[in-house]
């Protein structure tokens, strides 16, 4: 595959003070965000957190009551969707069933009134980019889910958009396809150098391919950072428990926790120790064998925590009902606001 002839100049995105409501539902609350040119950025959160609405706001399909969206420093509020030059790949792909693959890809170029030769050249180039040159004359219904997704991407990048918006692009694929398609998306993004926003509810997808992630909950951005920062230094309990599993303990667990804070740690950072003399101790409530690790549930006061220990044959295994202690290195203990 060749490098596209026209290199795309990457665009930065600035979002500030955005509030958006549908009737009495406050969907986005004081959202502010800065996305670097060329960055692969994710909006991550559970369904209903407002991540898709924020994406549609950038594309022009939603109107905010307050705040601004700047692309390369230019406010896009007065621009209708068809003048924004912001490419969006829809969750359903939204391929038009009455057009061939080539026609679908040519659509945006035709709307821009480009000369026919130029359109043909760019359609061929876009299809080559996603490896679907041989499928140009097929109808969308004749393609597999993964191929349809690539047509949707080709159709969008063909117009050489300022930014690429991906709305849950992997959700309609089976588990195996997801892994390979997400790698393809990452490779493609790197080659085009295109600022890209990826909406997902799946933390693994976001972690594996994105440079930075904005974690959203109930219309609020809870934290922005690289996947590793978010995992190692979550700013709040929501981020801590949404990315990976986390044990959360309050006062009364037998360990000193500052007022208004909670003790947070990851299951694999704790180890089992003898109950005697341990600040944290309690009975084993269940045990699950996961292959590389063994996961124990331990009741501490009112709460139950999870501990994962590496599995080696010959290890001493605890049984349900054993009273055990929990050892935790101080550098792994996080105190987050409740």
């Amino acid at each position: 595959m060749s490098k596209p002839a026209t290199a795309l100049k990457a665009t930065g995105i600035e979002i500030s003070g955005v509030n958006l409501s549908y009737g009495s539902t406050h969907v986005l609350k004081d959202v502010a965000l800065s996305i670097e040119p060329g960055e692969f950025f994710a909006f991550l959160g559970p369904s209903g957190c407002g991540k898709t609405t924020l994406l549609r706001l950038i594309a022009g399909f939603a109107q905010a009551q307050t705040g601004r969206v700047l692309l390369d420093g230019q406010d896009v509020a007065p621009l209708p969707p068809w003048k924004r030059n912001v490419g969006m790949v829809f969750q359903s792909y939204a391929l038009w069933p009455h057009m061939t693959v080539a026609k679908n890809v040519a659509f945006g170029l035709e709307e821009r009134r480009l000369p026919r030769a130029e359109i043909d050249r760019r359609v061929a180039q876009a299809l080559e980019l996603v490896g679907l040159t041989d499928y140009a004359q097929r109808r969308p219904a004749q393609l597999s889910g993964g191929q349809q997704q690539r047509v949707a991407v080709a159709r969008t990048v063909a117009i050489e958009p300022k930014v690429l918006l991906l709305d849950e692009p992997l959700s309609n694929l089976d588990a195996k396809m997801r892994v390979s398609v997400r790698r393809e998306l990452r490779t493609l993004q790197q080659r085009l150098g295109l600022t890209t926003i990826f909406v997902t509810h799946d933390q693994e997808e976001a972690n594996t391919i994105c440079d930075r992630i904005a974690v959203m909950e109930a219309g609020v951005i809870r934290q922005v950072g690289t996947p590793m920062e978010l995992y190692e230094k979550p700013a709040n309990l929501f981020v801590a428990s949404f990315l990976g599993s986390a044990n959360i303990l309050g006062e009364g667990a037998g360990i000193a926790v500052p007022a208004g804070k909670r003790l947070v740690f990851r299951p694999q950072h704790a180890t089992l120790s003898p109950a005697e003399g341990a600040a944290l101790h309690g009975p084993v409530t269940h045990r699950e064998f996961l292959g590389a690790t063994v996961r124990y549930g331990v009741r501490i006061g009112e709460s139950e925590i999870l501990i994962e220990t590496p599995f080696h044959s010959g290890n001493e295994l605890r049984i349900v009902g054993d009273v055990v202690g929990v050892a935790l290195p101080p550098e792994r203990m996080l105190y987050l606001p409740a």
């Binding site: 969707p81 829809f90 939204a94 038009w96 069933p97 009455h98 945006g108 969008t156 117009i159």
Partner: protein, 557 residues
């Protein structure tokens, strides 16, 4: 599993369809291909048809009128469909109710009234002549048929097209906007092609309906069209003349060819794109100036559509109405007359339609059950046979009954075809496909597990049908009954062939006869108004029945 009861039921239905649908139609086709007087198979009748200038002209006139009706109906339907699916428009409800109008009043009912409103010396032209010194030939010759059919049948296109537009996922349009398209261009490139199957379904329905219509052209005094020629040939020359049969075969062929062509065009174009949570095209607010324009378009179309209704009511109260924009005076005499000595028409209509609708619901329900719930071999054939009635024009069915049953004599010597029950059977066959769809819809909504649960608890098949299936289907069947009843009440083309005496005639026939003479028009119009009221009330009841059964079923939809 097949029980003797199911086999007996299937055979009974097959016998019914065989005798009252297949045999009459087959008779028509057979006669068309046999020599007059002799029994030898021949194509000579078709050669005669092609050599008779009148028939060829009639054929092309029918094609022209049907095609132009589709064109004008599309011109009326397209803006309304665009308006109601693409914009937040308060008039949308009004436009949607237009869909029921052609069912309430078929075009022949208002034909004479429209002549008085839009004819050469009708109200509109008299006023135009007085004010602006010119006239418009709305109703001249074939134009009159096109005009009348278009304003009656455009809702078929409107309803199908709007439904198709509403089924397009919003992301289809958003993706186009995202790539730089908007406005009318976007509608033309994305929404319209995706809605094409719906449009074609509506358009072909209109084409066939207009092609098969006998009474509307005749009431407008247009004789040189194919379906009227079939009627005239049989009634004026006689039941033995082969030309009526040849024309019938041509009518069937055109209907089948239209449906086949439609199916061919639609093949591979099933664009149901709605995703969960997606739903219809995005709507936007109309700007004030656009709103004025939109209302102007809707009101103009509404005035046109309501003109036959308005004219009919006016005519039914008029003393004399001729060469003047409005009647000279008003009277209740016509209603007194039709409710008095002509009330036999109304009584017959209620009886015939009620019986026909009952037959349809029973047979439709039984076929739906056999097809969806049993493994009886050949059960699909019952469905196909019943549905072929769609392709058989009413006049053809009527001719077939006459020919097939006239020779069958009762013990006292009266031919079978002269009995009023034959009219009921013809109407029942004509309406059966619609009742069948209603029965399918009703049965498909019932989960099989409800029946399995009853059998699991010890109920036999027959008792399960009685205690579980029938009660659950009641709402849907009732809606089917009322719709069949209502449309049967204004069925004319088959009836026209079969009525032997006025005392056996239903309302539609009485209206047709009365409308022929200026003296009878008032009474004819009064009958028309009564028919419209009966049908409208039935439609409303059917809607009520459907709504209630939906609600009774609660969330199980």
């Amino acid at each position: 599993m097949r029980s003797p009861g199911q086999v007996a039921l299937a055979l009974a239905i097959a016998l019914f369809l065989g005798v009252f649908l297949v045999v009459p139609v087959a008779t028509v086709v057979y006669v068309a291909f046999t020599e007059k007087g002799g029994g030898a198979l021949t194509l000579i009748n078709f050669v005669d048809f092609a050599r008779t200038e009148l028939f060829v002209r009639s054929f092309w006139n029918s094609v022209y009128v049907s095609a132009m009706t589709v064109v004008w109906a599309s011109a009326l339907a397209l803006p309304l469909a665009y308006l109601t699916t693409r914009f937040e428009f308060r008039g949308a409800m009004l436009v949607q109710t237009l869909g029921f109008l052609p069912l309430i009043m078929p075009p022949f009912v208002g034909a004479v009234a429209m002549q008085l409103l839009f004819g050469r010396n009708g109200s509109v032209n008299l006023l135009l002549d007085e004010w602006f010194d010119f006239k418009i030939g709305f109703m001249e010759g074939l134009n009159g048929v096109i005009f009348l059919q278009a304003i009656h049948y455009f809702p078929f296109i409107l309803v199908n097209l709007s439904a198709a537009l509403r089924n397009i996922d919003r992301s289809m349009e958003e993706a186009a906007q995202n790539l730089g398209s908007h406005g009318l261009r976007l509608f033309r490139r994305i929404a319209l092609p995706l809605a094409l199957p719906g449009y074609i379904a509506g358009a072909s329905l209109v084409f066939v309906k207009v092609f098969d219509d006998v009474a509307t052209p005749l009431l407008l005094n247009v004789k040189e069209m194919l379906a009227p020629q079939a009627y005239l040939r049989i009634t004026s020359i006689g039941i033995d003349d082969p030309m009526g049969y040849v024309i019938s075969v041509v009518l069937i062929v055109v209907a089948v060819a239209t449906m086949w062509a439609t199916a061919l065009v639609m093949k591979g174009k099933d664009y149901a794109t709605t995703q969960r949570g997606g739903g219809g095209l995005a709507r936007r607010q109309l700007k004030p100036r656009e709103q004025v324009l939109a209302y102007a378009v809707v009101i103009l179309i509404l005035l046109l559509v309501l003109a036959p209704h308005f004219g009919l009511v006016l005519l039914s109260f008029a003393t004399v109405w001729s060469f003047s924009p409005l009647p000279d005076g008003f009277t209740f005499a016509h209603y007194a007359r039709v409710l008095g000595d002509s009330s036999v028409y109304i009584k017959n209509t209620l009886l015939y339609s009620g019986l026909a609708a009952a037959i349809d619901v029973v047979i439709g329900g039984a076929i739906a059950y056999l097809v969806l719930r049993t493994r009886l071999p050949g059960r699909q054939w019952l469905d196909w046979a019943a549905s072929t009635a769609l392709a058989v024009p009413g006049v053809v069915l009527g001719i077939g009954y006459l020919r097939a049953f006239y020779g069958v004599k009762l013990p006292d010597g009266t031919p079978l075809a002269a009995l009023w029950i034959v009219i009921v059977l013809a109407i029942a066959i004509r309406r059966l496909p619609y009742a069948l769809r209603a029965a399918y819809a009703a049965l498909q909504q019932i989960s099989v597990s409800l029946e399995e649960a009853a059998e699991n608890l010890g109920a036999t098949k027959a008792r399960t049908v009685r205690r579980i299936v029938v009660p659950l289907m009641t709402g849907g069947l009732l809606a089917g009954f009322v719709t069949s009843f209502a449309t049967a009440a204004v069925e004319l083309s088959a009836v026209l062939m079969l009525v032997q005496s006025n005392s056996d005639a239903p309302l539609a026939y009485g209206l047709y006869v009365l409308m022929q003479t200026p003296a009878g028009r008032g009474a004819g119009a009064a009958l028309g108004v009564i028919a419209v009221i009966i049908v409208a009330v039935c439609m409303w009841l059917s809607q009520l029945a459907a709504d209630r059964s939906q609600r009774a079923r609660g969330l199980d939809i």
